[in-house]
Structures are given as C-alpha cells and as structure tokens.
Amino acid sequence: MDLTIFNAVIAVVIAIAFAAANAAYLVLAERRGAGRIQRRPGPNVNLFGILQPPCDGIKLMTKQLMIPGGADKALFMVAPVLAMAPAIMSFVTIPFSDTIVAHSMNIGVLMIFAFASFGGMAILLAGWGSRNKYGVMAAVRAVSQNISYEVPMLITVITVVMMTGSMDLREISLSQSGGIWNWNIFPISMKDGFMLQPMMPISFLIFFICSLAETNRAPFDLGEAESELVAGFHTEYGSMGFGLFFMGEYANIVIGASLITILFLGGWDCPLGLYPGVWWFLLKIYLLIFSFIWIRWTFPRTTIYGLLNLSWKILIPISLFNLLLTAGLLKVF
C-alpha cells in the first residue's frame, strides 16, 4: 500500500478512533470486571452501563482545567498529550491481520518501543510540572520503573526477533502461522524445520510481566499508588488532562496486548490453523486485557524496591540467559 497523505490521514483517524473507543469501553470493562470479581454488578444502569463512558467523557470535558499555582504551565499541559499521542502512533504499525495494517514497517518493533518510552517521559513531566511533592515522588518512581523494565522487555524481544529473523511485526506474525504449535509461546516450532527452544514459555511470562510494568498496571502501579501517593503523577490533574492520562493508559494496554499477541501468540492465526483473520487477533488481545484486569483486582501493589529487585535480580538474568540459549540453539538447528 502506497503511503499517500490521504491514506495516512485515514490511517491516523482510524487509529485515533480505535484507541479512543477502546480506552472508553475498556474503562467500562474494567469496572464491570472488577465488580464481578468483587461480587457486585459494577456500572449497570441503562443497558449494562453502555452509556457510562460517554457520560464520563462529557463530565470530564465540561470540567474546568485547573492549573495549580506555581506549576510549570507548558510541561503541565504537554504531559497528558504526550501520554496519549505515542499510544495512538503505535497503532499505525500494528498488523491486525494479514491485510489490515496502516503502514507496515520493517522496523515496526523498534518504532513501538521508541514510542513506548514516551510513556515514562509523560509521567515524569506530569509529576514534575504539577509542582506537587506526591507528583514528583511518583514521577521518579515511574521513571526508574520504566527504565528497569525496558531492559528485560527488549532482551526478550531480541530473542524473538532472532528466531524470526525480522523486525517487521507482520513477518513475525506470519512466521507463526499454521496452528498453535507454531506459535512462539511453545518450545517447539516445526515451521522451517525442527526447532526446540525450551525457554519460550518463560520468555512469554517475562514479556507479560514487563508489559504490565510498562503500562503502569497493578501490581506495578507505583506511579499512581493511591494509598501512598494520593493519586501519584496525576494528583493535580482534573478535567480532560486526567481523561487523557486515563485514555493513554488504556491505549497502552491495548498496544501491550497486541504486542504480546503478535510476538508470542501468533497474531491473527487460529489455534487450529483454520480461518485466520482479524477476529482471532481481537479475541486474543481482549483475552489478554481481561487477564490484565483480573490481575489488577487480585494482587496488592509491590514496593518500589521489590519491583526493581524483580527486574534486576530475576527478570534480567533469566532473559539474558535466554538470549544466550537462543543464540546457541539457532547455531545448532
């Protein structure tokens, strides 16, 4: 597909629409899921709460945007945008199926991770710019968290890229097609000759944990930590500033789930090799998002040092070992 200006505009509009719709209705899904887990119905007025997200949106948009005195106005305003924009940009290169992709790039993986790093930046600016002690503490926490979790995440991605031989997300998906046994999550691959990589399920787990941490989801939501830091980096945000952070968080979750699906769960491939298509992709990402919600409402929050210990003492050594093992196995098979 040629990338004309017209095409690009359409792609961006669709990406924004998809991200916004997902963000709005994932909030509802999260609240209803949390409700079910806690034996209560959640928002259920007017047809299972269908109108809840628009109402929330109207409420947020009609509120006054308050800028606290002494805050760095520019940074304060730019931070929410910075939280939302990279998430939307990342949608451009995600292949929803063999044909549905806005712009397939041969460095798609790199681009998504480059944009994902903006998330930490947004939190830092928000915390710093709002001139709030809780905000600054949350910002510092979130940045150290993002830095330490990008390392094992990228190492894990490198193992997958090494096995596939491509950084194009579409290529990575296609290399896993043909049934559940070809997916990267399984230790054995029969796609191009026999290949055994016993560590793959563990890589999946590492990547899953890292995407939880990257999206600042519980149990790693130290940037928010509502029982310690009030609301963390968005303590001073109200109105749509808060709304954008909220939407950015959920858009990032969709990106995270899509990446896990593409890198480990075969993308749009059907488990039995039948009727591959976008429906399988959506089913997989929503199952993953459900597990994110499920995890959030089950576990207490980790501590900041517990989180860093997990990254540097457990995840990084294991993923490094995994990288070496993969390199060796690629030589053998």
């Binding site: 034996r39 926490r141 501590t303």
Partner: protein
C-alpha cells in the same frame, strides 16, 4: 526492607500526609520530614476530630454517657460500651444476670470479628489490593445484620445497660450466629490463600516495620500490636472480667515484631473469637437479662474505679472518680489506639514511605478513638 540507608539530612523536604490522605483512614495528620522516599523524621498531629468525650462524661449522668462510648470506635463499638457498663457496675455494685453476661461476651466477640474483618480489608487496600476488602465487607455484613436484628443499629450500638441488656436475643440470632461460624471459618481459609500466602503481600510485610517489645512497653502499646511483638498480654486472660474465665480460648502471640506478625495475630484472633462465640452459644443459660433490683438513679459511692477491657484494638480502660452524685467527677478514657499510634513516630524513622504506611495500617488506627 529497611536496609542500610544513607540519609542526607541537609536536603530534606516536608510532606504532609493528611489530614486528608487515603492511608490515614480519617483525619490523622503526619508531618514527615522526607529525604526522597525515606522518612527522616515523622510527627503525628492529632486533634482534628476531638469531641471531648471525657468532659461530656463528667457533665452527663452515667446512662447518658453510654451512647458516647460507642462513638469512640465505630468499628468495635460493643467493646467500648462493655467497658463503660462494667466500670459503672463495679462502681455502683450492680449484679448482672448470667444470661446477660453471656450475651454480652457473644456480642463483643462478634463485633471483634467484624472489626478485624474491616481492618483486614482496609489493610490490604493500603497495600494496593482492593478486592479482599469487598470479600471482608461481605462477611462483615452478616455480622452487622445479626447485630442489627438484636440491637437495632449497625455500627454505633447502644445495647448494653447497667445491669444487663437493652433487649434479649432470640432464637433467630442464635441460629444465625451458629450458621455464621462455619461460613467465617471457610472465609478465613480463603483469605489465607488469597492474601496471606501471596508473595507480594509477604514481601511487603516480612521484616517491615519492626516494633519491639521494649518499644511497646515504653509507649504502652497493647492488643495485637503488643502481641505481635511477643508480649503475651490480653486483658481477657490477665485481668479476667465478665464471663471470660469460663471460655477456653488461646491468645495468639508472635515474636517476629514485624507487620506480618501483627497481621497474623489479628487473623488468629478472629478464629479464637469464633471459638468463644461457639462456646457462648452452647453455654447460653436461660434467665432474665436485667437484675431484679436495680437502682433507679445510678449514684456510685465515693471512690476511684477502673475497669479495663480487651477491645479489638487493645486494652481499653475507663477510670471513674465518683463524688457520690449522679455525674462522674472525673471520667478518663484510656484508648488503646492512642498508645499504639504514639510509637509510629519512633518506629517509622528511616523507613520508606510505602513501608511506613503499611506499618501504619498494621497498627489498626481508628482516628475518632485516638482523639475521643
């Protein structure tokens, strides 16, 4: 983990935790001198919800103070009214029928379970887990329903009277309480698997917030805080009152001195309370609930009277100095949480804020009871 810390005392900032802060569960204010995430010095500031219950106790007649006592601690109100009625009964020499004593013990223990359940939920919420709170509230709701059916109110009971009870328990209550015990035991197992065993939870509490026995003695901490530090002291055993000597129950004591020990003490206490309720229901005698002859106007003879009871938060003491009139000359409340909280300033020095707030949760603070 309060490991080796190098604190720069020259570059600190002050952080106001409270009076409105999600972790303080009320209007407690903690002024923290912070070095990054580490607390250099903390100072608790009280008095935001002071209502002068002691002065009210001196200006009102003895029965009129009764509703005040349940406003001290809205989570375990039964225990506090129990303390008051026992103190006045001791002062005025009122005999209590046996049935009333048993019903009182059952009610206090039920309320203790309810209080611990709510603490459990709120504590896990302090640590960031929201769901256990909802499960705990669901179980607590059964207790509140039972208590409401008997006493008429859900939180601030005014059920005990000098010499007996406001009204008698019926068979419905006895059956409901009997049915509740196995249900609660099942729930405790669930909490054990969901929370106590959880690695994140354990990592956040093990060896965090050490409060030694020495520190407890220094500040007069009682209840689960002291028992988590290895002090085997329970007013129900050490200075028995009411019908507690009739019951067979253990006092859980842990020697680890950390937040997890205090957590475990409370979880074990719930089981012990269930045992007391079980025995109380079995032994519940028939008979009147109010004494036959009771003075119309309560005027204790001149003297100084003290009664301590074990509430959900520790040893609660009431001192009544009577000058022979219908009002007390001095009405002193020794609230357990006040002492338990006092040690927070010293204990949290050098800790990280999230550990300190986890420790604060493990102290089980109820702010209206501190300020009273």
């Amino acid at each position: 983990m309060s490991g080796p810390i190098h604190i720069r005392k020259d570059e600190t900032f002050t952080l106001n935790v409270g009076p409105q802060h999600p972790a303080t569960h009320g209007v407690l204010r903690v002024k923290m001198e912070m070095d990054g995430e580490y607390i250099v010095k903390a100072e608790t500031v009280l008095g935001y919800i002071h209502r002068m219950h002691e002065l009210m106790g001196e200006n009102r007649t003895y029965p009129q103070v009764l509703p005040n006592l349940s406003r001290l601690d809205y989570l375990g109100a039964m225990g506090y009214t129990h303390g008051h009625v026992l103190a006045v009964e001791r002062a005025a020499g009122i005999e209590v029928p046996e049935r009333a004593e048993y019903v009182r013990a059952i009610m206090v223990e039920l309320n203790r379970v309810a209080s611990h359940l709510f603490w459990f939920g709120a504590f896990v919420m302090d640590l960031g887990g929201f769901t256990p709170l909802m499960y705990a509230i669901e179980d607590r709701e059964y207790i509140l329903d039972m208590l409401e059916a008997v006493t008429g109110s859900r939180l601030t009971y005014c059920y005990f009277r000098f010499g007996g009870l406001y009204n008698d328990v019926d068979d419905d209550f006895v059956n409901a309480a009997r049915a509740f015990i196995p249900r609660m035991r099942k729930s405790l197992k669930k909490y054990d698997a969901l929370v106590t065993g959880n690695i994140i939870f354990r990592k956040r509490l093990e060896n965090i917030g050490p409060i030694s026995a020495e520190m407890c003695r220094k500040y007069g901490a009682t209840g689960p805080v002291a028992r988590g530090a290895g002090i085997d002291f329970d007013v129900r055993k050490n200075e028995p009152y009411s019908v507690y000597p009739e019951f067979d129950f253990d006092v859980p004591v842990y020697h680890e001195c950390d937040s997890l020990a205090r957590y475990k003490v409370r979880m074990d206490e719930m089981e012990q309370s269930l045992r007391i309720i079980e025995q109380g229901l079995d032994k519940l005698p028939e008979g009147p609930i109010m004494p036959k002859k009771k003075p119309k106007l309560i005027k204790p003879p001149k003297g100084d009277y003290y009664q301590a009871v074990e509430t959900a938060r520790g040893s609660f003491g009431i001192r009544i100095v009577s000058d022979g009139t219908k009002n007390a000359y001095r009405f002193k409340l020794r609230s357990p949480t006040y002492s338990n909280m006092s040690l927070f300033d010293e204990a949290c020095e050098g800790m990280m804020i999230m550990d300190a707030l986890a420790m604060m949760g493990s102290l089980d603070l109820v702010i209206p009871e501190i300020d009273r």
